[in-house]
């Protein structure tokens, strides 16, 4: 029997009531009395020297409040990067200044060159057209390999080269891996591109800055996944505002997918300008601006080699990757191709020797940073593609080759510095074979062939590291912050509960799932519990939501805080029941004395805490509110196996997804409905990457795909119904809920199976095609078929 409330129940989402009736409160829905509007003049060339900017005419236009340029921001800090990577020679990465407004040099199309604050948006926009720019254009650096060559134009003249860092991992294994590859019975090599993507949450970014002179208080309303992180980065590093004078509010946020983690120039601008003009300043991104100012994702060029012995056991992996950073280092940019990528290169397999080399490159493009999965999709894609290619070269079944090399004993220490606490890769593979009806594939292929279509089956496994992250570990790796989280459980006098959490919900349904946990612990109805999030003035602290960390890290903090509350409530109950604390049990909202029929209700105990007439005041304080900070002991390691079946039209090269199945192990599951929804969304983004989406620049650094006319977002008619399963559960061993995180799995796990399926289809049609780069468009398929 499925439960109807508490842990494991598919409780319907309470937040839906406001979203379904138009009552959601997104940042652009905030309008403050007296607000002004900013329009940013953005660079339309990729690389240029700014000789002069004349704003005189613009400043005189009707409705213009003030015009700002880079000179106005000389005295403030640059936008900081939150992670310092050390290169393979022991040197820190090159870290250029990232100005709020370009000063002296333009380094990417879309960079802010000037800002006009006006009474209306239309007036600000009109005035921006009157700004006169004198530029000297420079050659643009776009191609990463060309950028790495001696003598290339430099994106930053003050740096030694365009290489941000050249990272080796694990550097001590470099020679041993080289040797193992030399000695191998077989080596499969694959060169591939992990295509550049734009996260595209449907809500464009918005920032509204406010300033109150009377108490020197700044408030920023912003579309962020992590308001405290923004307060820290912007307050401490850019504008020099102490925490108690800076409030950051992220209300309803319309999707994030990573790109709303980062601290952006527009946030700093609106906060700064609100004080300068002494009025609220509002910025709402257009979609076109979003394409050229939201941090992009992926963009790796990789060569991977997989070595095997004569029995097809994996013996070594060597990779070389060029990773695009764009023109500046965004908040977590440097960590994505390194610590979120190299550490996952073992995948689900017991390969003893691994060496990962990553060259992070500056180019004249928009900064690149985390996008759903962040580093882990890139690791999974190359590994699961090269395994498929190896199976074909060796003439073995790709599923059998994976099985043969699975890690089967846990905990398992990989050669790339992480330790998987628990997992069962055989179980998810067996579940996948069942739900995807792999046995029935041959018959389905025959049906497709009868219609003149080619049908292919692609399978892959994935593992990811979530629950980001143990602070002492990431500190050693270069993180400039701790990655714990915090929660306060505030029990009100009549027994209802408000939980203030550091995680932020922008589609994940925390307002529903978090109360399920508390309801289960205390035994009171879910509707007695509310979640408060997204406002630094209301919640104790928090590092926010990304890396599938909300439940594993913040949920654990919430459990710890609730445990403290329960322990204190038991003391109060013991007093009321004239028993000893140790004998008090809490079940279904009743405290009882073990072995007796004496009991007192939750609400009577909470009331006693706030009306302490009969209360152990000498032992405990009145009130019932506790805070906990939780720092995880390890990452969590969700894993699974995915299968995709495609049909390829041999005449046009068009690929259609016929079936898609996902068997995931997320450990314990709080709300199965929400978890399935997260997987669905991730799969759609993964299929989007594999078949449709591509962020393209031309050689001059012009962004070619800058609207939904040019950037192919997956639509309803591109996608099938999915079959998803999360019944294989090996609970995480080191957090109190045994949860692992589910937000990124779909996006990590799906691209390789799509491409594997296309290759399988073409091979079945007698075409010797071994690889097609994503997105696997009809044109690329057709070309591959006709060149094979």
């Amino acid at each position: 029997m499925p439960k109807d409330s508490g842990i494991g129940a598919s409780s319907k989402r309470r937040e839906d009531l406001r979203f379904l009736t138009g009552a959601g409160k997104y940042t652009d829905d905030i309008n403050i009395h007296g607000q002004t509007y900013v329009h940013f003049l953005r660079a339309d060339v990729a690389h240029a020297t700014i000789n002069s900017i004349d704003t005189t005419a613009a400043a005189a236009m009707p409705g213009v409040v003030q015009v700002f340029t880079g000179a106005d921001f000389e005295a403030v800090g640059g936008i900081p990067c939150g992670w310092q990577v050390t290169d393979r020679f022991g040197e820190p990465m090159q870290e250029p200044r990232h100005p709020v407004i370009a000063h002296g040099t333009i380094r990417h199309v879309g960079e802010i060159v000037a800002a006009v604050v006006g009474e209306t948006l239309a007036q600000a926009r009109d005035a921006a057209e009157a700004i006169v720019l004198d530029l000297t254009e420079k050659p643009a650096v776009v191609d990463m390999k060309a950028a790495a060559t001696e003598g290339s134009t430099k994106v930053h003249d003050d740096l030694a080269s365009n290489i941000c860092y050249d990272w080796g991992f694990v550097e001590e294994n470099r020679d041993a891996v080289d040797q193992a590859i030399k000695d191998a019975a077989h080596v499969t090599t694959l060169e591939l591109v992990n295509n550049r993507l734009v996260a595209n949450p449907m809500e464009p970014r918005v920032a509204v800055g406010e300033y109150s002179r009377s108490d020197d208080m700044h408030t920023l309303h912003t579309t962020s996944q992590n308001p405290h992180v923004i307060r820290l980065l912007m307050g401490a590093f850019v504008l020099g505002i102490p925490e108690h004078k800076l409030r950051v509010v992220a209300p309803d946020v319309g999707g994030g997918f990573g790109t709303k983690i980062f601290h952006y120039a527009e946030e700093a601008f609106c906060t700064f300008a609100a004080k300068a003009v002494n009025r609220p300043v509002k910025w709402t991104s257009t979609r076109s601006e979003a394409f050229m100012s939201d941090a992009h994702g992926r963009d790796h060029v990789t060569k991977i080699e997989l070595a095997m012995d004569a029995d097809n056991n994996f013996t070594a992996i060597r990779t070389e990757t060029y990773a695009n950073m764009g023109a500046y280092l965004s908040t977590f940019a440097s960590s994505v191709p390194t610590w979120l990528h190299g550490t996952l290169m073992a995948g689900n397999y017991k390969t003893p020797l691994i060496y990962v080399n990553v060259k992070a490159m500056f180019t004249n493009t928009v900064p690149v940073d985390a996008y759903r999965g962040a580093g882990r999709p890139e690791a999974t894609f190359q590994l699961e593609r090269v395994i498929d290619k190896a199976a074909r070269e060796r003439g073995v079944d790709p599923i059998a080759l994976r099985r043969q090399n699975f890690v089967t004993e846990f905990p398992y220490a990989t050669p790339v510095a992480v330790e998987y606490d628990t997992g069962d890769y055989e179980a998810t593979m067996a579940k996948l074979e069942e739900i995807a009806d792999i046995d029935g594939f041959a018959a389905r292929r025959a049906e497709s062939e009868a219609k003149g279509k080619l049908r292919g089956l692609g399978v892959n496994c994935y593992i990811e590291a979530c629950g980001i992250a143990p602070s002492n570990l990431v500190g050693q790796l270069g993180a400039r912050a701790g990655l714990y989280d915090a929660a306060t459980v505030r029990v009100n006098a009549t027994g209802s509960i408000s939980v203030m959490v550091g995680a932020h919900s922008h589609g994940q349904g925390h307002e529903t799932s978090f109360p399920q946990v508390i309801s289960e612990m205390i035994g009171i109805p879910e509707d007695q519990i509310d979640i408060v999030h997204g406002d630094t003035s209301k919640i104790p602290f928090g590092m926010g939501t990304y890396g599938s960390r909300s439940l594993a890290v913040c949920g654990s903090a919430m459990v710890r805080a609730a445990e403290k509350v329960i322990n204190k409530a038991k003391k109060i109950a013991a007093h009321l029941l004239e028993a000893s604390d140790a004998d008090i049990e809490l079940k279904d909202g009743q405290f009882s004395v073990a072995g007796t029929d004496k009991s007192v209700a939750w609400g009577d105990v909470t009331l006693a805490a706030y009306v302490p007439h009969n209360y152990p005041l000498e032992d405990i304080e009145p009130g019932l509110e506790e805070t906990a900070f939780y720092d995880p002991a390890n990452f969590t390691y969700p894993a699974g196996a995915y299968a995709c079946e495609v049909e390829v039209d041999p005449d046009t090269g068009k690929v259609t997804i016929e079936r898609f199945s996902a068997a995931d192990d997320f450990g314990n599951v709080i709300n199965p409905m929400i978890v399935s929804g997260q997987v669905h969304g991730g799969i759609a983004q993964g299929i989007g990457q594999a078949l449709l989406e591509n962020c393209a620049y031309d050689e001059d650094g012009q962004l070619i795909s800058a609207s939904y006319m040019d950037y192919a977002m997956p639509r309803a008619d591109d996608l099938p119904f999915y079959t998803v399963d999360h019944s294989c559960q090996t609970p995480c061993t080191h957090n109190p809920l045994g949860v692992k995180g589910c937000g990124e799995a779909g996006a990590i796990g799906s691209p390789p199976s799509v491409v594997n399926a296309v290759i399988d289809a073409l091979q079945s049609g007698g075409k010797n095609v071994t690889h097609i780069d994503m997105p696997v468009t009809p044109a690329r398929v057709w070309e591959a078929m006709n060149n094979a």
Binding site: K12, L20, G22, D28, M673, M709
Partner: protein, 161 residues
């Protein structure tokens, strides 16, 4: 500035707008009906879908002056008179057809227009109709399922929660 008046969700409203003011911005900025969302500037995403004289329209493709004298329905008017969710809204909640909620007003308004014309659409018909509504969160699975359920079809055989 041009004076315009229209009936929005059954209520007579009026305002002064510039010729370039879009219906989406009249609804959001002048009437403060912020349920109608703006997700793009090329009329691709469908977050802004409303009904004008009974037909689904992307409010970002229409000037406010063009809606002068029209009957406009937005997401704020979709619930039943007693405030309870309409059949379509309820189906979206029951089948988890929304996550961040940003595309949702447009999805619900599109679904309402679809079901008016085609009370029992097939899966393919629903997917084709939603071609102009982008959702980045749900992968569409539960949206399609919710719309089919709202049309009274049995969706229990469709995989997953």
């Amino acid at each position: 500035m041009t004076g315009i008046s229209m009936v929005v969700n059954g209520r007579a409203v009026s305002g002064d707008v510039e010729g370039r003011t879009l219906l989406s911005s009249f609804l959001r900025d002048d009437l403060r009906l912020t349920g109608t969302h703006v997700g793009c500037d090329t009329s691709q995403c469908g977050a802004c879908v409303v009904h004008v004289n009974g037909k689904a329209v992307k409010a970002c493709t229409m000037f406010a002056v063009e809606a002068d004298g029209a009957e406009v329905a937005t997401i704020e008017g979709e619930a039943n008179a007693d405030g309870s969710l309409s059949v379509i809204q309820q189906a979206f909640q029951d089948h988890h057809g929304l996550q961040c909620g940003f595309c949702t007003p447009g999805m619900v308004m599109s679904a309402a227009a679809l079901l008016k014309d085609n009370p029992k659409p097939t899966e393919t018909e629903v997917r084709d109709y939603l071609e102009g509504n982008i959702c980045r969160c749900t992968g569409y699975h539960n949206i399609v399922k919710a719309i089919m359920a709202a049309s009274g079809q049995d969706v229990s055989a469709i995989a997953a929660e």
